[in-house]
């Protein structure tokens, strides 16, 4: 690994660890949106907040090497952007996949 790669790798690790509380908070918001959707009523403000979070995650997770996380976040974003009774039920599995991908240890 080159000096530049080592430096960038160290920064990514540091940033990832520093942002873990924010990441867990964002996943918590996604979980609340999933629960609301499952109950049959996803308030617009929560849908919008979850959509924003999914967009941010799709753009940043891959930067930290979590490419599968980016893919899942993109799927969640697409559903929240254009939600239908048919695709909303998929949110629960996707949110669980996302959490499992980012935190395989639980």
């Amino acid at each position: 690994m080159s000096k530049e790669e080592t430096k960038i790798d160290a920064l990514l690790t540091s940033l990832w660890n520093r942002n873990l509380p924010l990441l867990r908070e964002r996943l918590g918001t996604l979980d609340r949106a999933v629960a609301a959707a499952a109950s049959g009523h996803l308030p617009e403000i929560l849908r919008s907040e979850a959509l924003d979070i999914a967009h941010k995650l799709s753009g940043s997770l891959g930067m930290f090497g979590h490419h599968r996380g980016t893919e899942i976040a993109r799927e969640i974003e697409a559903i929240l952007k254009d939600s239908t009774p048919d695709n909303l039920p998929r949110l629960a599995a996707l949110a669980a996949d996302l959490r499992g991908t980012l935190f395989p240890e639980g």
């Binding site: 960038i8 920064l11 940033l15 967009h55 941010k56 799709s58 930067m63």
Partner: protein, 123 residues
Amino acid sequence: MRRILIIDDEDDIREVAALSLEATAGWQIFTASSGLEGISMASTEQPDAILMDVMMPGVDGPATFRRMQEDSTVAHIPVLLLTAKVQGVDQRRFASLGVTGILFKPFDPLTLAQQISEMLGWK
């Protein structure tokens, strides 16, 4: 030495992009967390290029770009939009604005400088 302004509301994106460009290309980096702050900094610092996020609260990337085009102190600076939107319709909409290029998130920190150089025709 190239001088780049990064405009993004996400702290981690700004930090990773800045360190990536400093470490891999030796460029001098300025950062701003909003479109309006970015316009002001671009006018003051006169960077060689601007790397700007599309989705930002308040004045978003496309709106910031339009304002820049109306400002003679910054209109000449090439702008690359940085977006997580991968759909073709979004890409065509951004390209129609007249920006110099579009880069996609998530970017690879090790090749970001190379991508920017290629888009701007820098050797």
